[in-house]
Symmetry: C2
Subunit: 133 residues, 2 copies
């Protein structure tokens, strides 16, 4: 499914993204979040509402911020609420440019109902480049 | 300095890497590390000896591990000691492949004396791809 041998010149986000993302609720604790990040070997958690819509993002960097400031409160207190996202049918170079411009290393991929479909990271994009030369 | 317009077909690590990396000593605390990660908006710290050689790497993910396990000891207790590194003159696609194969998002770039010259991240490599299509 993730093959680079396509007829299109530019792969789409959905061809490159991880179609799995670990989620958490905003009233869980910072330690719950740290455990999920650690156990899943993943840097990013999608914070979702009870009905599954994206409401925030929480990364290992936010956990460092909590440790630095000694604030071990709810996920809501440390998550980023204005989330940069992308759509599954966007060309991947546009996504790469947005990651670069805003200085983040990943964007959740969402549908028109803000349901989370996956995540695209600079790791995914970097892997793509490994095969291009 | 980081221009993509080169005569070489494949850029080298030194053309793409960040030539700045935040360092820490192994006897500092996990909270010191968290503060450095937070203040510098960076996910990776190079752990260096008193004479400046690389002895480990500590990432925001390692801070999450410390929070998950409730271990707030020295940097040495949470850092990774066997560090994947690369050389400044390696072609960037080889570096990208190594990141992918070992599932890490960055490698310190070191000289033959293990002095740290910078760091190459999948963010740097992803940025490169943003300009290739
Ligand atoms: C500014 S970055 C700095 C560290 C590193 N460059 C990285 O991307 O993780 C860290 C912050 O960006 C936030 N962040 C990560 N991905 C995001 C996204 N897609 N939209 C908005 N904020 C995001 C995190 O919640 C965290 O507070």
């Amino acid at each position: 499914a993730k093959s680079m041998k396509q007829t299109q010149p530019v792969p789409l986000v959905k061809d490159v993204m991880a179609d799995f993302i670990v989620t958490i609720k905003k009233d869980q604790t910072v330690q719950d979040a740290a455990k999920k990040i650690w156990e899943n070997s993943f840097n990013h958690l999608a914070v979702v509402s009870d009905t599954g819509e994206l409401v925030g993002i929480l990364t290992a960097w936010d956990i460092s911020k909590a440790v630095a400031e000694n604030i071990f409160d709810s996920v809501e207190s440390v998550m980023t609420k204005k989330v940069l996202t992308c759509a599954p049918n966007e060309p991947v170079d546009l996504a790469a440019r947005r990651l670069d411009r805003y200085g983040v290393s990943a964007m959740p991929v969402i549908d028109t109902q803000r349901k989370v479909l996956g995540i695209i990271t600079s790791d995914n994009i970097s892997k793509l480049l490994a095969r291009r030369y």
